[in-house]
Symmetry: C3
Subunit: 477 residues, 3 copies
C-alpha cells in the first residue's frame, strides 16, 4: 500500500496515465532544498543518527502535537522540559507509544513521509503499529549504525544537489566553514558559495524586541561583527556585515518569520523605536511594529547584496501556553491566524516591488490569500513570487488547493518551486516525492481537460521540480 507506484495520482485511468508519464520526467532530477532547518553539523560532523525515537519522534512537532492532541504529554514522548525535569528516557518506550497511535496519522502527510522513509530509505515494507513497533525499532536501530546511513552517505543517496540551512546572524557559521574546508566530491564542494550545503540569513531574533534576550543578542551582534550596534545605523551596518559573512558561507537568501506581513518604510521612525527598545522604553505597538520597519530595511539590503527575501508570516507563536511554559519554543504549540498581504506589503512594494534587483518569496498559512492576494501580487509585481504551501499546508490537499488557486492568475512561472522546510533530514526525499507527485497529478488534470498539451505539462513539471527553485532562490551557479 504505502508505496504503490501510483500513489497520490488521480483515480481515473485517463488522468492517472498522464500523471504517471509527467511524474516520470521528474523522478531522476536532483533534489533542490533552498529552505529548511536541518542542522549543518549533521553534515560537518557526519555522526550516526541517534535512536529511532530521537531521530523520528521527539524532534518532529508534526508527530508530537498529534499525540498531545490525544492526551499524551511531552514528558511521555521524551521532549526535554524547559526546567530540565526528567522526561521519558527510554527510546523504545517512546517509539511504542508512537507506534500504538499510528492510526491517528491516517490521511496526514506525516504518514506519507514516514511510510516512504521506512520503505525507501530503511527498507521496511510492513505497516507500523503497536504489534510491529519493536520490529521497527530493532530494524531502524541496526541500520542507523551502518556507514550507508551516515548523514553524508544519505545526502548523496538522496541525490540532494543543494541544501540550505537556516541560521540567525548571532549563530556561529563554523559548521559551514568546516563544510567548506572539506574536500570537494565529484567537483562539488560541501560548503561555501555554490556548495552542497549553504546557509540562510534569518534575523528574527534580532528584530523582535519583545523576544527575551533581544538586547543581549544586539550586543552579541556587535561582538561578532566588530561594529557598534548601540545606534540604529550601527545596527544596520552590523547586519549588512553579517549578511556578507552569510553570503561568503553560501547564503543566497534571507528568511523572515514575522508575525504579520506588515511593512513600514520609515528609517527615522525605525531608529527611534530601536533606541527606545534598547532603553526598555518602547511601548507594545512599537515593539510589534519594529519588524515591519526592519522588513523594508532588509529589502533595501537585498537590493544591494542580492539576497532573495523569504517571508513566512501568519503564525501565532507559542499559542499553547502549557507547552511553551513547560517545554519551550518550537515544540508544536504554534497556531496560524488570518493574514493580510495586499495592504500590508504595499509600503515595501511601493519601494521595491518592480525593482529588477529585488526578489521576494511570499509564503502563507492562510489559504484565503492564495487567490485573493498572493496570486495577484505574484502575477503583477516583478519582485514577488508565491512560495510553496507551507507547514500545515505542505500536504497533498494543501498543495493541490495552492495550485488550483494560484495558477490561473499567476501562472506557474511566478511560483517559486517546492521547499521542504524540514528539520527531519531523513524525510527530505519523501517530501519532494509528494510534491512532485501532486504537481504531476494537478498538471495531468489540465492535460486531461485539454487545457494544456502533455508536452507543455512535462516542461512545467520539470520547471517546478528543478529549474524554478534553482532560479528563484539564486542557486543556479
Amino acid at each position: 500500500m504505502s508505496l504503490h507506484p501510483d500513489r497520490l495520482f488521480p483515480a481515473d485511468d485517463r488522468t492517472r496515465a498522464i500523471a504517471r508519464e509527467l511524474h516520470r520526467r521528474t523522478t531522476g532530477l536532483p533534489l533542490v532544498s533552498p529552505h529548511g532547518h536541518v542542522d549543518p553539523r549533521l553534515m560537518s560532523r557526519n555522526e550516526p543518527f541517534p535512536d529511532p525515537a530521537r531521530l523520528f519522534v521527539v524532534p518532529d512537532h508534526y508527530l508530537t502535537r498529534m499525540l498531545y492532541s490525544q492526551g499524551y504529554t511531552p514528558d511521555q514522548l521524551g521532549v526535554p522540559s524547559a526546567d530540565g525535569s526528567p522526561s521519558e528516557a527510554d527510546g523504545r518506550a517512546i517509539w511504542r507509544r508512537f507506534a500504538e497511535n499510528y492510526h491517528l496519522f491516517r490521511g496526514t502527510p506525516s504518514r506519507l513521509w514516514l511510510d516512504y522513509t521506512f520503505a525507501e530509505v530503511f527498507g521496511i515494507y510492513k505497516p507500523l503499529s503497536g504489534e510491529t513497533a519493536d520490529d521497527f525499532y530493532d530494524h531502524l536501530s541496526a541500520r542507523l549504525t551502518e556507514p550507508d546511513y551516515l548523514p553524508r552517505a544519505l545526502f548523496d543517496k538522496f541525490n540532494i544537489e543543494v541544501l540550505a540551512t537556516t541560521e540567525s546572524p548571532v549563530d556561529s557559521l563554523d559548521p559551514h566553514a568546516e563544510l567548506e574546508a572539506m574536500p570537494a566530491e565529484n567537483g562539488r564542494k560541501w560548503g561555501g558559495p555554490g556548495g552542497k550545503v549553504v546557509t540562510t540569513f534569518r534575523p528574527d531574533n534580532l528584530v523582535e524586541p519583545g523576544w527575551p534576550g533581544w538586547k543581549e543578542r544586539v550586543e552579541r551582534l556587535a561582538e561578532i561583527t566588530g561594529v557598534d550596534t548601540s545606534t540604529f545605523d550601527g545596527f544596520l551596518s552590523a547586519l549588512r556585515a553579517r549578511r556578507r559573512d552569510f553570503i561568503a558561507a553560501g547564503a543566497t537568501c534571507s528568511d523572515h518569520g514575522n508575525r504579520t506581513a506588515g511593512t513600514l518604510d520609515d528609517p527615522k521612525k525605525a531608529a527611534e523605536i530601536f533606541h527606545k527598545a534598547l532603553n526598555g522604553e518602547a511601548d507594545e505597538t512599537e515593539i510589534l511594529q519594529f519588524p515591519a520597519y526592519m522588513l523594508v530595511e532588509f529589502a533595501r539590503m537585498s537590493v544591494e547584496d542580492g539576497l532573495v527575501m523569504q517571508l513566512h508570516p501568519g503564525s501565532d507563536r507559542n499559542h499553547n501556553k502549557w507547552l511553551y511554559e513547560g517545554w519551550g519554543r518550537d515544540v508544536g504549540g504554534d497556531i496560524p491566524s488570518s493574514n493580510e498581504y495586499t495592504l500590508e506589503l504595499k509600503p515595501l512594494l511601493d519601494a521595491f516591488g518592480n525593482d529588477p534587483r529585488f526578489r521576494l518569496v511570499v509564503y502563507t498559512l492562510d489559504e484565503t490569500s492564495f487567490s485573493r492576494e498572493i496570486a495577484p501580487l505574484a502575477g503583477g509585481y516583478s519582485a514577488v513570487f508565491a512560495g510553496a504551501p507551507w507547514w500545515f499546508l505542505d500536504s497533498p490537499e494543501g498543495m493541490m488547493r495552492f495550485r488550483e488557486a494560484i495558477h490561473e492568475t499567476a501562472g506557474f512561472y511566478n511560483t517559486a518551486g517546492f521547499v521542504d522546510d524540514t528539520r527531519a533530514f531523513c524525510s527530505i526525499p519523501a517530501r519532494h516525492d509528494v510534491a512532485r507527485r501532486i504537481d504531476a497529478a494537478f498538471l495531468a488534470r489540465l492535460v486531461a481537460e485539454h487545457r494544456m498539451t502533455e508536452d507543455e505539462a512535462g516542461e512545467v513539471a520539470v520547471d517546478l521540480a528543478y529549474n524554478l527553485p534553482r532560479r528563484i532562490y539564486g542557486l543556479e551557479k
Copy 2:
C-alpha cells in the same frame, strides 16, 4: 434518480466501487444524534404529526428562506406572524406553493433530504412538482395518521440510538421527566442518563444581557433553582445547580451559540458587568463581552461536572430585519459573517486547553477557519475537537471541503463525528445517510490514491459514523 444506490459517490468506477464497500460497513449502524433541536414532547406525547405543510415546510427555515429569496412572503407559507395577524391557513395551498418551486432546491441538501424522506420514510417514488403536489399531499396526509408514523415508531424505525434535544436552563425539563417515567424498551429507557432521548444545556438566553427579557430570565432561574441570582456568585451557583438537573435528565453536553468565539477569563470583571447589566447600566461593549466571560465560566463548570462544551459561533442573528420584525426569531433570517478562533479562544485554552477533564467541540460557519485555525487547534490541544460542518455547510460539498481541509492537520480522530442539528425529526435518517455517504466518498478517494488501505478506511468510516460521536459527546455509557 433520487435514491440511486450510488448517490453521492464519485463517478469514476475505481473510486465508486471502494466508496460502495466502505459505505456498506456503516449502513447498519444505529444513528447517534448528539446535537439537535427536535422537541422532546414529540416523543413524550407521541401524537401524530400535523399536515404535510406544517410538518415539512412551515418550520424548516432551509425551505422558507429559499422561497423568500424568490419573493414569497412568510404569510404565503403559513409562518406565524409576530403580531398574530393571519397567515395562510390552508396546508394544501402552502404545500402547492412549495411543490411548484421545488426546482429552486436543485443541488441543495434540502432536496437530498426531502427526496430521501419521501422515498425511504413515506414510500413515494415520484418527483415532487406542481403537477404531483396534490398526490404527495394526499399520500403524506394518509401516512401521517397511521400508527407506524407516530414519532416513537419512527424513532425505532430510524434506528436512533440516542437523540439529544436542546433546552435553556429556564426551560422545563418535564418532557424529559415524562420520557424517563416511560417503560424501558429492549432494556433501554426513553429518558434520563443513558436514555434514548437526552437534553443539552444551552444557556444563550441567560448570557446575552441584550436579548429582550434577559433580566426576567435571570429571575426565573432563581425561582427554578431556589438560588438567589441577584449576585454573580449566585447566578453561577444557580447555573451549576441547573446543570446538575440537566445531567440528571441525561445531558452530557452544553451548547453555546455565542456571536463570536471570544473568551475572556476574568470572573471579577464578569461579576461587575453582570451587576451593571441587571441594573441596566452595562454599555454596549460590556453587553457584547459578557458571553465571552461566561464561556470561560462554563468551561470551569465543565471541568467540574463533565459536560462536553459545544461552541457554535459566527451567525449574525436576525439579520433580515423585515423577517425579524414581522415573524420573529429563527425563521431563516440569520446570516453568517467571518469568525476568528486562534486569538479568541486563547484565554479559554490557556486555562483548560490541555486539561484531560475538559472537552470543547468547535463548530464554524466560516470555512476559512477549517485549515487555518480549527484543524491546528484540534490537532494540538487535547481538549479541542472539530465539530461537524454546520448549518449552511451541512451539505455534500461542505462536508467534503471540511474533510479535505481538516484531516491532514488534525487527522480523523480529532473530529467529533456527524451531528444532524435538525428540528425536522423526519429528516434525521436522510441527514445521516448523506454524511455517511460523503465520508465514504472522501475515504474512497484516499484509498484509490493509495494514501490509506481499504481496511483502515473502513475502520475510520465506522469510527466517524458511530464510535467518535458516542465517545466525544460522552454517550458511550
Copy 3:
C-alpha cells in the same frame, strides 16, 4: 489541443459524456452580455480593428500584468505612458515579445480565451510561440482588413443578442444615440431600449470625492443635465435625470465599483459630507464613507426607476504605484483584498432587501464570501443575486469553486448568470464558451453523483447560459 471538443470537461468517461450532452443544449443559444467594457463606438463606427498587438495585447491588462510580473515594462509593451513619453510603437515587436512569453500563460484563462479566438474567430490552428509569432501577426493583420472582421459583422457572427457597455453619467451617450439611429436588422434595433447595444449607468467617478477631478465632474453633471448640482438634493436630482437619459439609451442596470460593500442609510449625513467635499473640507473618513451613503441613495433610485444595481467591491485600485504613476489607471495595477458583505450591506438590505422592486447583483474578488456571506444573502433576500465570478475568478477553477460554494445554499436561481465583463470584444465568444463548459462540467458531476437528473441539469444549463442573465439584468423585453 487548444480546441478539443471535450475541453474543460471532467476526465472520467461517465461524467464527460453527461457534460458533453448538457453543453450541447447551450451551444446554439445567443450570447447575452449584460456587463462589460467594450467601447460603444466600435459598433457605431464599425471601423477595422487596429494591428494584432493593439487589438490583443496592449489594452488587455490580464496579458500586460503577467508580462510585468516577469520583468517587462509597459513601455516595452506599447502601453501609453501618463506623461506622453514614447513607448514601443512597432506592433510586430510588441507581438513578438508577447508570443515569446506565451508559456507564461499556461493554465490561465487568458490562454484559453486566446487559443479559442485564434482558432474559432481567426482560423489559426497552430500554437503561438516565438517561432510562429510572425505567422500569427501576418495572418491576423490580413484578416483584420476584411469586411467579415469588422465589428458589426463579428457581432452578428458571435450571435450576440445584447451587449451592455458601461458609461459614467458624465460620459457622452452619443455613440448610443448613433446606434439607435441605425436601421434595425432582422427586426432588432442596434441601440436604445431593447437594442443590441445598451449602456450601463456607472457613477463611480462622481461618488468618490477623493478621485482627482471630482468637483469638476460634479459641475459637468450640472451642465449635462441642466440641474444645479451645488446642493446634495440637486446632485441627486441630476443623477436621477441622467439615469432617465441612460434608460432612454437602453440601460437596464447601474454598476458600482466601490472599494468596499459598505452601505450607510442617512441622507442628511450624506448631504453634509457632499457639501464639505465640494468645499474641500471633508476628512479622509468622510471621503471614504461617501460612496457607502451614495449606494443607498442609488438603491432608492433603483426602487423608483427599476435599474438593476450591480456591486463590484473589493479591489484596491492602483496598488502598483510605479504603474499608476507612470502609466495611469486600469493598466493592471489593481490588487484585491478581503471584503465583508454581511454587516456592510445590512443598512441597504434593511431598507430594500425584501422589496420586490429592487434587485442587487453582488460580485466579489474574495472567495471566502462565497459560502459564508453571498450564498446566504442571495438565498435569503429576494433582492439579492450572486454575480458571476469576477475578474481574477473569471476562470475555470474560479467558476467551479463559485458553483461548489454557492449552489447548496442559494441554489441556481439566485445566481445571475454569466457576464463576460470584458474590454476585449473578440474574446466574448471565448469567455462564454468557457463559462458554458464549466457549468456543464459542474452539472454533469451532480448528475453523475445522482444528485440531479440529466433533464433537470439540462434545464439549469440553459437557464444559467441564457434565461437567468436576461431575466435578472432586465433584458427580457
